[in-house]
């Protein structure tokens, strides 16, 4: 139980599951069921979101300790417990997940027509798994949520996806599962050594360097696929292209953050020396991700694929920031994760708006949309600019801090990351130009309707957040600054003591 004696985190985690159960109960003809399912899902996720705001207001920013901690023994003989809690690193991701879910449900309001009930159940289960994963303080518990996230996502892509959905969902599943198996082995090895799977206790535990290397590689296999890092990124464009709009939003908004979160939560604190040892490797992969995937994005003909590749490039910035091991780099990485969650989610929604009307994501199909959809053009422009990290939008603070942090580690790495500024501008502006600008050549486009009130309702919170994060990022940065600074100090201390021991 936490200090207030109220298990808020468990409530947030399992409330969507309750909603899902309620939807399952609904009986009647199909239209009634669908309408019921939609409304129940919306209300459940909205209530969850409102409840999660408690975290925003009650979170104590002055300490790096875990807060709202809940502890129940689960398998005491194995040292495994049901333990939940959040610190500065995870708290905002919980909020991100609870914010995006209702928006996704709204976005699927009209576009999903078949098996609405199952779809809504899948989404609510997905929310449970996401929130649980960010709150879990026990490695075993984390693993359960981490893996369980795959299942509803797999179903969402596989059932409600596009033409090649089966291929995409299998690819998604196999790629991510392969890494997870290795992580499970690593967890077992850790447990074997330390006799516990509690994350706070593990953080105190010293692991010999030789073992750190193997554990790091095992974690890396799992997290790198999830991030995704080059060259294990190819599942992502396929998954995005085939997923329904809302699936893409969650995939880009929250699921991509799991890998980076894993690095921050486990690799860095538990395996400090191995992290340092492998840092150059990560830098190299990150820079290749930024440059290579940005170039690939430039060549795309499909809007969703283009944004998917841009996500890989942005995540390259994130992994780079994490492994700079300094305050600016890590905070920048965290901020980029958040802003990317909002901005790329919004960009996928923007694609969805056009897809709902024209049923194609071919860039060449469009052109001159700004003429008939001025409000839409404005919204798309804002998120395009946020994606290219224009100062004053959400994209900038993170990228800026990462480059600043990277420069003090290695200026060439910083230069590589900064190249993304130009390439990012190139592919996003090309996209914008070919979709929104130019003369309208197709008759069907002439009749397009501008964004509907429902769509405005979806976009407004994202627009507000994008500007808020750009103009006053401090209200987000302040959440993680204490935690990150403690993390950096501990990391340095661990490296220092290791060097000291080696010196003897």
């Amino acid at each position: 139980m936490n200090a207030a004696g109220f298990p808020i985190l468990s409530l947030l985690t399992f409330l969507p599951l309750v909603g899902a159960a309620a939807i399952m109960m609904v009986r009647g003809d199909e239209a009634v069921v669908a309408s019921n399912a939609r409304w129940t899902a919306l209300w459940t996720s909205l209530i969850t979101f409102v409840l999660s705001l408690v975290l925003w207001t009650q979170f104590d920013k002055s300490t790096a300790d875990y807060q709202f901690v809940e502890h129940l023994s689960w398998m005491p003989e194995f040292g495994i417990a049901y333990m939940m809690g959040v610190d500065g690193i995870s708290v905002l991701f919980v909020l991100l997940a609870t914010l995006l879910t209702p928006l996704c449900i709204l976005a699927s309001w009209e576009s999903v027509r078949s098996r609405v009930r199952e779809y809504m159940i899948a989404f609510l289960v997905l929310e449970t798994m996401m929130v649980g994963m960010f709150c879990a303080l026990d490695f075993m518990l984390f693993y359960v949520f981490f893996e369980a996230v795959l299942i509803p996502m797999f179903l969402i892509i596989g059932i409600w996806g596009g033409a090649r959905r089966v291929y995409a969902s299998y690819k998604f599943f196999l790629y991510t599962l392969l890494g997870s198996v290795l992580m499970l082995l690593a967890i077992i090895a850790l447990w074997y050594q330390a006799g516990t799977t509690s994350i706070p206790e593990l953080a105190e535990f010293d692991i010999p360097f030789g073992m750190q290397v193997w554990l790091f590689l095992a974690f890396f296999a799992s997290f790198a696929v999830k991030v995704p890092m080059w060259p294990v990124h190819t599942w992502l464009p396929d998954a995005h292209v085939e997923a329904p709009t809302a699936g893409s939003v969650i995939l880009a908004g929250v699921l991509l953050k799991m890998g980076a979160y894993g690095f921050l939560r486990f690799s860095l604190p538990l395996l400090p020396e191995a992290s340092l040892y492998f840092a150059p490797f990560i830098y190299t992969l990150s820079i290749v991700a930024v440059v290579y995937t940005s170039l690939v994005a430039l060549a795309q003909q499909d809007m969703k694929k283009l944004i998917a590749y841009s996500s890989v490039a942005h995540m390259g910035i994130v992994t780079l920031g994490i492994f700079t091991f300094n305050q600016q780099g890590i905070e920048g990485a965290l901020f980029t994760m958040l802003s990317h969650g909002i901005v790329s989610g919004a960009l996928f929604l923007c694609v969805g708006v056009l897809y709902d009307r024209e049923h194609t994501r071919e860039i060449a199909h469009y052109g001159g949309v700004a003429k008939v959809m001025p409000a839409y053009a404005l919204i798309l422009m804002l998120f395009t600019m946020a994606s290219v990290a224009l100062p004053g939008t959400a994209g900038f603070p993170g990228e800026f801090l990462v480059i600043l942090g990277a420069w003090s580690v290695n200026p060439w790495v910083a230069f590589g990351a900064a190249l993304g500024m130009v390439l990012g501008a190139a592919y996003m502006l090309t996209l914008y130009r070919r979709v929104a600008f130019g003369k309208i050549t197709r008759d069907s486009l002439r009749a397009l309707l501008d964004v509907s009130p429902r769509e405005v309702a979806i976009f407004s919170p994202l627009i507000a957040l994008t500007l808020w994060m750009g103009i006053y990022p401090q209200s987000f940065l302040s959440f993680f600054s204490v935690t990150v600074s403690q993390m950096v100090q501990q990391h340095q201390a661990a490296i220092g003591s290791a060097a000291h021991l080696a010196g003897i």
Binding site: F281, M385, N410, A425, L429, R433
Partner: protein, 636 residues
Amino acid sequence: MFVGAVFFPLLGATISGFLGRWIGDRAAMWTTVLCMVLAAICGSLSFWQVAMGGQPGTVTLFTWMDVGELEFAWALRYDTLSAIMVGMVTFISTLIHLYSIGYMSHDATPSRFFAYLSLFTFMMLMLVTADNLVQLFFGWEGVGLASYLLIGYWYEKESANAAAMKAFIVNRVGDIFFMLGMALTFLTFGSLDFDTIFAAAAGKVDASFLGVNSIELIGVLLFLGACGKSAQLGFHTWLPDAMEGPTPVSALIHAATMVTAGVFLMCRMSPIMEYAPVALSIVTIVGASTALFAATIGCVQNDIKRIIAYSTCSQLGYMFFAAGVGLYQTAMFHLFTHAFFKALLFLGAGSVIHAMSDEQDIRKMGGIWRKIPITYVVMWIGSLALAGIPLFAGYYSKDAILEGAFAAHSWVGNYAFICGVIAAFLTAFYSWRLLILTFHGKPRADHHTMEHLHESPAVMLIPLVLLAVGAAFAGMVFAPYFIGHEYEHFWNGAIFNLPAKHMMEAMHHVPEWVPMLVMTVAISGIVLAVILYGFLPAVPGRIAAAFPGIYRFLLNKWYFDELYARIFVEPAKRLAMRFWQIGDMRIIDGMPNGVASLAAGTARGVVRLQTGRVANYAFTMIIGLVVFVTLFLMGH
């Protein structure tokens, strides 16, 4: 007052942009103009108080970021340097807004246009009043966005879209260096606040980074950033293409906002730059080369706006080499006077284009001066100021720059002086070529256009006349303050000059033949143009025919666009395609298939890797590169 000068334009942009559809175009347009007038009043008062009254101030709004030791806020810093810019930008921008009411009267979505214009102004004001490098970068990128929107304003035109993208992306290339410059500044000084950096600069002279002097490297990186924004040699390609936007936009980009930002950055960073002699030499050389290079192109262009655009490029070169030899005050003075006559020339050109039914080619004009007398007179004044004829604004600043370059007594200074004098000759030449071809001689336009020839409405002429007054007198009135005997009091420490250099004094003590030479070349440029185009109109064509190579080289702008397309754009596109189709689709996705087929007992997967295709090897090389770079970095 300080806040008002900056935020009234934003208010105008917001109202016009978001409410324009409800309140109607007329209301939207006049709202932005009203907001700009209020901003101009605030701006002028600020200028009076800060620069003339010597009372600088800073308004801190709220914290922007606070990460570890890095901390900075949104703030409006008003010292003489920013007060000059605020006063000038708000004044010129107001006139351009007013002019646009007439110019854009036939446009379909003027409220959008005015929203962009005001946004542009706001971003520039944020840039010049920044109290730290990051806010400066905010304005820096913000003007990039606004210029992108405005250049591509007529978004149904493919050429406008291409030009807009080019402007944004070329600027972004410069921004990489700005960003890295900031990173190094932070690493060196532990802060990005101007006051902290400036105070610590003298103590960090010996700091080094990767074996290079940190301050020098900061200077070079920031200068490269400035090159992007100010269209210096190598980064200039976007500026002439930016003509695709409506003419008032060109006036705004060239005179008040955008391109002057780079010069402003150099002056703002004078406390750093002064300790970076090598960086300053680079600034001087690039600036001087740009001044000359752009002037040569200006002589052969036929589009009235393009000629003026190259002249901006060239004049910016003057400002840069002035800063390069340590005469930041003079650079700012030229920036100030240039704003008046360049806005005047562009708006005048707009008036000509308007009168000629949207014709921009000067070969199709001629013989129209009687029909549009006011435009004709103001274009003369603008050209006189640009050529640096005594008593007009440009004379005071350009003369001072050339004298200063001479007085620097260094080889870079001499190089700048020589380039500057030749460029001054060419400037006078192409200005009068433009005047004569546009206004004199026999009418070359078709009958229909000539019949519709008309002087512009009052709402366009009033700004022209006001700017003409500025182009005529701004130099005379402000010279004593900017560069004359009152300069120390006027600048009030906003610009730092190394005490040992004495450039501000030295520039007034050059041999008498120097100013005489400057004046002579300007007048002979005019005379040559008048003879060639006024009296012997057949000769220029014959000259061009006699030297076809040189003529084509100049006409095609030294082939920079083609060069860049060949070495950057096309390879990038090709590489993108290869990476995607071969790297991602065939190799990375093919790997599992390859493994599968291996398991099935066929080695087809391996064979596929040895197809002899260059791209496959390129991909293998990347993998190798990853391994090597990793090993290399680990070795450190």
